[in-house]
Symmetry: C2
Subunit: 310 residues, 2 copies
């Protein structure tokens, strides 16, 4: 009687075991994998397995996670990026930004770009008012662009954008706000100086009608960003700065939904109510005076000069 037992395959890879599961998975990567992808996936699998081992999810909890990711994916369209919102609200976007913008002492800190930047805003001369509809509490923003030794940088480009007093960007209210309302591009003068007129920005919620909004709700968190003015400041030979300045009196200052606030980015906003100062300003009513200097770090040697930054 013939009964042939087939050879069990020579063992080329380890079988799955709960202990060391991350190594079983990572051992499968082929020899041709790019070194950077190998490094990234090794870390992803390691921390993913560590998280699962710490959480010990039930099958239902695992399925809830699958469902959450699927709904987050289904919420994404050309004009809505729910995974970026997820990254923002879990502090990952700020963390990636921080890691990539460790500045030499004294340079203005970065914060996130946000989804409302529009290239090619109008170029204005010093002192122009970027508020095109006359709504809101007037402000005058004024300062200098300097290097880390405090020397003026002439001809720096200052690209600015912000919400109106209702907490909306022009692009969110097409037909309600004039196009390019509260956006403008300025250049620093020979002394590195810039100034412009605007209004005080207001806090606003990130889109919270999707899975990320539901997550924030379940975590007892609100969706509001602390009020801020966005800036991109660039000058040849210097690292660009993408940043905000925050109003110090916003109720959400210490609890910005996307963790964008850094202490060094809280602006010096002063209310001017003195009749003489008001008359001198030509504004005709009380206004906010904001003083803000940008300090740029020289590009590291060997950096591509002035590559597009966005």
């Amino acid at each position: 009687m013939t009964e042939t037992k087939p050879e069990t395959r020579a063992r080329t890879f380890p079988y799955f075991e709960e202990q060391g599961s991350e190594d079983v998975v990572n051992a499968r990567m082929g020899p041709e994998v790019s070194p950077r992808l190998r490094e990234v996936m090794t870390a992803v699998v390691k921390h993913l397995h560590a998280a699962v081992k710490e959480i010990e999810p039930t099958h239902d909890e695992w399925m809830a996670a699958i469902k959450f990711l699927t709904e987050t994916g289904h919420m994404c369209t050309d004009w809505r990026q729910e995974f970026i919102l997820l990254s923002d609200t879990l502090g990952v976007s700020m963390l990636v930004d921080s890691i990539n913008h460790r500045r030499p002492n004294g340079a203005t800190e970065n914060t996130i770009l946000g989804p409302f930047y529009v290239p090619d805003a109008p170029r204005y001369p010093h002192g122009a008012n970027i508020c095109l509809d006359g709504k809101g509490e007037p402000s005058i923003v004024r300062g200098r662009v300097v290097d880390t030794e405090g020397r003026p940088i002439a001809g720096a480009t200052i690209d600015v954008w912000q919400t109106n007093e209702d907490g909306f960007y022009d692009v969110q209210q097409k037909g309600v706000q004039p196009d390019f309302n509260l956006r403008g591009v300025f250049s620093s003068d020979a002394d590195g100086r810039y100034w412009f007129r605007s209004v005080k920005p207001r806090h606003y919620p990130i889109p919270d009608d999707g899975p990320v909004g539901k997550m924030l709700g379940a975590l007892g968190r609100h969706p509001n960003r602390a009020a801020h003015i966005h800036f991109i400041v660039t000058a040849p030979g210097f690292d660009p700065v993408i940043t905000h300045i925050f109003t110090p009196d916003c109720p959400y200052l210490t609890e910005d939904a996307v963790f964008g606030v850094k202490e060094s980015l809280i602006g010096d906003f002063r209310k001017v109510e003195d009749p003489e100062a008001i008359a001198e300003s030509g504004i005709g009513e009380p206004f906010w005076r904001v003083g803000w200097d940008f300090t740029l770090a020289r590009k590291a040697p060997g950096t591509v000069p002035d590559a597009p930054i966005i």
Copy 2:
């Protein structure tokens, strides 16, 4: 001259800092968050931030991750679950399964259910052939269902399903294979015995035309599952077992794409070519003899009796 500086908000939460970023994020959870959600999210944020800090992704790499997750979400439909495939191929599904099925010594180990289970397959008497189209190398699968002391369990339900020799389940080839081809439900007899006829299963690829397939390609991995027969074995008062038995000679045995193979689940497949044995079997050609016992663990006291398992 009056210039009033507004009060900076009292600091209720810490500002974002690269160091300790995970604590800044977790500190935002409200007091009413369910203890389990708090535990889960604390671990998720901790390991997510640890991964980002280890990887130090560039902005482009972060954006590639956002894009990958978005595409994975967009691939999901009612009949395709790309995030489950992602979980499977990163070993997470097996890890969750292992965590939830730590068995007392000697009980048959679990492995993943997979997407091809169909409830309410035909009930057959012992010895029935579940291969309805006569294709493939015949097999006889035979064994016992016993408790951890080796005592027979009578009336256990053995639900079985597998691919045909082309590596497809019936539900993947509607109109090509007969409905319920290679599926059946059996009961163990008074001695705990069961047996049925079938064919040798073949390896098959998981769906690899989506982002997960692309990921596997970039990692130098193939999408193939090692050949297996699926079983769900249940008996009143015992923990159900969801498992496979694997053929020992499959070229993918040690590199199952979803890490489903456990050493204890490799079957005892013997080729029978002896004319007398062939005649006795009534099969009329050489066949595979598979011996397989299922050992069930008694339910822990207090467990819901016989709750639905799927």
